[in-house]
């Protein structure tokens, strides 16, 4: 495919708004994702304040939630659930799926495999703009009178199907479903594009076993997305039918507000199956790209080859495969056949094996390295740390027997926030710090980066580690206040501590945002290859041009991890450097 770069004139609109250039689309995804992230985090602070100081009046609620959602500054109990729901939805889908994967798949796939652009630039643009529309619809649901969707991000019916059950299941839920349907279409277009691009547009010499691990991660993420997102789409569609056209896919035998509804024969458990068939792979859609970014950043900054390149690929494939057959571990106590519980326990605990391989390989990559502790590297090491801490408790939650008593408690909140929330965010931050020069041609300030990392790292543990304990005390999640149970009175102080950590942690994202937006315009001009990395994106000129490379696309002669290879003067050998005579090739 050929691009006649430089020949056609670009207007402001084609360059910055309806751009079909993957680098611009990546930036659009990044900035949209970050802005959505601010909304998601602020919502979480609001409901954390309610948990810590239940039913107290806050000036800030009066301003942001208004008299309707927070009469007299006291948050309404259904609005609490609405905030929880929208926080989860925004963070999982809009920040960590679209924001993370959308940004870095778009930026890195063409640049790292040596392609001029995505296979379909137009579809790529469409993918972003549909994402943008879905963001607008989701945000607009925060401003309607009955409030946004309030049934949890898992939107289990009948709660999500019946406006009688909770006000948010009226218009708010309708907007949620429309937004998500558009989001899924966007995500599928993105994913198909990534898959086709990786398969077809690799430059000469770039065999699959010479791909950077980032690309492997994006590639498999896209495949998981294509396999599982349509199932959520179908679940959403059937739910729309139940809500609006009176079908009974998920509803049966319901008596509410003093009357029997006509629904008969459906099952909410069916919805749970459909939901988690996407919902579980979704957490891998979130974490795999972060794993890819982290692998790349650790190798580059350790000045060492990633340890066990092939094992890394094998384990990522194993994780991708297993991710599609473990969804039932969210449903051990849903009322499904206990035999299925056994099956899903087995498949779920198997995931620990490739995960352990990856963790040990990252640690071994650090061993005897020459670690350049840039902010991106700190976030990558932080990723490994929280991935281990959060991942280990998966052994408990994945075991049906143990899940009985910690299911839907704060223990679960602690687990998944550490293993996929914080970890993926760290991956995201690491990626931003590392590829910022590639995106904007300027450097971010490292000292602000260090402050950002250290405070975030302490606060992340401060928020989520104590949750294990209140979870094991039996405290259920999604409780507006814990004061209805004297049993939980002793946990009140811990909840205050958690909220304080959350507020401080959130406040210390401000330096990041400052650093980010300031550096876009005023940062120091970046050299071509500031981190002395091997991958192809650093061979392209700093100033973005259509088609990425001014002349020929570079040819690839080696794998991407020839760091500190004996026999070379420099401690890195970019992929486009031909093999020396007699040089040993590790991977073909």
């Amino acid at each position: 495919m050929s691009h006649e770069h430089g020949h056609h004139k670009e207007t402001f609109i084609t360059k910055y708004i309806f751009s079909i250039d993957h680098k611009m689309i990546a930036k659009q995804y990044l900035i949209t994702g970050l802005l959505m992230g601010i909304v998601g985090v602020v919502l979480s602070l609001f409901f954390r304040m309610q948990i810590a100081w239940p039913e107290e009046s806050f000036e800030i609620f009066k301003i942001f939630l208004g008299e309707n959602f927070a009469p007299g500054g006291v948050m309404r109990n259904d609005i609490y659930l609405a905030l929880v729901t929208i926080h989860g939805t925004i963070m999982v889908f809009f920040v960590l799926t679209a924001g993370l994967s959308g940004t870095f798949s778009n930026l890195l796939i063409p640049l790292q495999i040596g392609a001029r652009d995505m296979a379909s630039g137009f579809m790529n643009m469409l993918s972003y703009w549909m994402f943008f529309v879905s963001c607008i619809i989701m945000l607009s649901s925060l401003f309607i009178e009955t409030g946004p969707a309030s049934a949890g991000w898992t939107i289990y019916p009948p709660l999500s199907a019946l406006p009688q059950a909770i006000p948010g299941s009226g218009l708010g839920m309708t907007l949620w479903l429309i937004s998500m349907a558009i989001f899924i279409a966007s995500s599928l277009m993105g994913s198909l594009n990534y898959i086709v691009t990786v398969i077809n547009l690799r430059t000469k010499g770039m065999s699959m076993t010479r791909l950077p691990l980032t690309i492997w991660a994006f590639f498999l993420t896209a495949i998981i997305g294509v396999v599982s997102f349509p199932v959520l789409f179908s679940a959403a569609l059937l739910l729309i039918f139940d809500r609006s056209f009176g079908t009974s896919f998920f509803l049966s035998d319901i008596f509410i507000s003093g009357e029997v509804l006509h629904y008969q024969g459906g099952s909410p458990v069916l919805f749970e199956h459909l939901f988690w068939f996407l919902g579980h792979p979704e957490v891998y859609i979130v974490i795999l790209p972060a794993m890819g970014l982290v692998s790349e950043i650790i190798a580059t900054n350790a000045r060492k080859p990633i340890f066990g390149y092939r094992a890394m690929i094998t384990s990522i494939i194993a994780i991708a495969f297993l991710s599609t057959i473990v969804w039932g571990h969210h449903m051990f106590i849903s009322g499904m056949n206990p035999f299925l519980g056994s099956v899903f326990t087995f498949t779920t605990l198997l995931i620990a094996i490739p995960s352990a391989v990856k963790a040990f390989n990252w640690i071994t990559t650090l061993w005897k390295g020459n670690l350049q502790l840039n902010p991106a590297m700190l976030f990558s090491i932080g990723f490994v740390s929280t991935f281990i801490t959060g991942g280990l408790t998966g052994i408990i939650l994945g075991d049906s027997t143990l899940d009985i008593n910690v299911h839907d408690t704060y223990f679960v909140i602690a687990h998944f926030h550490l293993v996929m929330g914080i970890s993926a965010l760290y991956g995201f931050f690491a990626g931003v710090y590392h590829w910022f020069p590639r995106m904007f041609g300027r450097m971010m300030d490292k000292n602000l980066g260090y402050v950002h990392f250290w405070v975030t790292a302490v606060c992340a543990y401060g928020v989520f580690f104590p949750m294990h304990f209140i979870g094991m005390a039996g405290l259920p999640r999604r409780y507006y206040t814990n004061t209805a149970f004297p049993l939980f009175d002793e946990l009140a102080d811990v909840n205050i501590l958690i909220t304080v950590f959350a507020i401080v942690g959130a406040a210390f994202q401000i330096p990041f945002f400052w650093n980010f937006f300031y550096s876009i315009f005023k940062g120091k001009k970046a050299p071509m290859n500031p981190w002395k990395a091997n991958t192809l994106e650093w061979t392209a000129p700093v100033e973005h041009i259509h088609g990425n490379w001014p002349g020929e696309i570079p040819e690839v002669h080696r794998w991407p991890y020839d760091y500190s290879k004996p026999g070379h003067d420099e401690d890195f050998v970019p992929q486009n450097i031909p093999m020396k005579e007699g040089e040993e090739q590790l991977h073909h």
């Binding site: 909410p268 390295g369 052994i395 009985i404 450097m443 490292k446 500031p530």
Partner: protein
């Protein structure tokens, strides 16, 4: 006032960030001012030490948590299978603590030890099949043990023998409360469906069903110690979850189907109140409540009631605005006390007769109404 406070806090944070960046800046003293944005030896050194310090933070925080919050956990399980669950939990926890301690050490220590230095060269070490095999096979073995133990316990809990001497109790969930139905002398629950809900028959029992005649509906759950109780669980509106943390028991309540969970209570409420850990917990909670009450009374509000220990049934699946307050007291009695209690409870059919008996005409009217209702339902179904 609050906005002033917010501004003040923001200013403080700003100063804090500025000061912290200064610290990192100061570490550059003596070198050419470096604004490259790339880590130099000083950065590597400072952050390497900080990484090692962070390891200490993780360890200390873990130890602190264990001491300060370790006693939050639920304590002695009050059911037969709960002992097995806790055993498995303990084994898993020890394993987790071990792996966590070791891997976090390696991760942070290596970061510290191999922090970058000018002229230091990394080892070109890309592969080692033996190492890879080791950390594949060891997790496989450990997980195999955990999986087998877990599945064995799971099957013990989830399957019960019909031949066994069990009693059936229905748990009935609705927004936002619980009811329980006892099967009566025949130990068989009468048929039920939400379409039978009417008046005091709030759980929709088919009162025509002979098995339903001796069913008793109550709003406080009593269980006899030492007998296997099989819960048949229903919901009338949305998903709920019957969570009985002290018994290590939980099962979702699904409208349109009957779910099931069974356990044997082993400690009566009275016995549990004598449990040392529980006494400690109750005293602690009462101290907290007393302190809170002082503030409340000062503000002219009512003081909090003192807390006595009781088993609880909580809702643990998001079910609507008042999800946070959907609870039922559970009392485990000695078998004789339980019998006495149950005998005192009226059957639903007698309550129904009582409620509808006095005015004969009204019954007639009600009856016609019911017929109209059911046709409406049928019509709706057909539609």
């Amino acid at each position: 006032m609050t906005s002033l406070l917010v501004i003040f806090v923001l200013v403080l944070i700003g100063i804090a960030v500025w000061q912290l960046t200064k610290i990192f800046d100061l570490t550059q003293v003596g070198e050419i001012t470096d604004d490259s944005g790339v880590a130099n030896d000083r950065d590597n050194s400072v952050n390497g030490y900080l990484m090692f310090g962070f390891l200490g933070f993780i360890y200390l925080f873990t130890i602190y948590s264990l001491i300060a919050w370790g006693e939050f956990v639920l304590g002695t399980p009050a059911s037969e299978h709960g002992v097995e669950v806790d055993n498995l939990m303990e084994i898993s926890m020890w394993l987790i603590f071990f792996v966590q301690t070791v891997t976090q050490f390696l991760l942070h220590y290596y970061t510290f030890k191999y922090r970058g230095k000018e002229g230091q060269k990394a080892l070109y070490f890309a592969d080692n099949n033996k190492l890879e095999a080791a950390w594949t096979i060891i997790p496989v073995i450990v997980l195999a043990v955990l999986i087998l133990y877990g599945l064995y316990t799971w099957n013990q809990i989830m399957y019960y023998d019909d031949e066994e001497d069990v009693m059936y109790v229905e748990l009935y969930a609705k927004q936002f409360g619980w009811q329980a139905r006892y099967a009566g002398d025949d130990n068989t629950l009468g048929k039920a469906n939400v379409r039978y809900i009417e008046g005091i028959n709030t759980v929709g029992v088919d009162l025509e069903d002979p098995n339903a005649q001796d069913d008793k509906v109550v709003s406080e759950l009593h269980l006899p110690k030492g007998k296997k109780v099989v819960f048949k669980i229903r919901s009338q509106d949305v998903l709920h979850s019957a969570f009985m943390p002290h018994f290590r028991a939980q099962m979702n309540c699904v409208p349109g189907m009957v779910t099931q969970f069974a356990f044997v209570p082993t400690i009566t409420t009275a016995e549990m109140r004598q449990n040392e850990a529980i006494i400690f917990k109750v005293n602690k909670i009462n101290k907290i409540r007393a302190n809170k009450s002082i503030d409340l009374v000062a503000n002219g509000q009512a003081a909090l009631d003192p807390y006595t220990f009781d088993y609880l049934l909580l809702c643990n699946k998001i079910c609507g605005a008042s999800h946070y307050n959907m609870q039922m007291k559970i009392v485990v009695d000695s078998p004789s006390d339980y019998k006495k209690w149950l005998a005192e409870q009226p059957t639903l059919s007698s309550q129904w007769k009582e409620a509808n008996a006095p005015k004969v005409e009204e019954v007639k009217e009600k009856a016609t109404e019911t017929i109209v209702d059911s046709t409406k339902v049928i019509a709706q179904v057909i539609k």
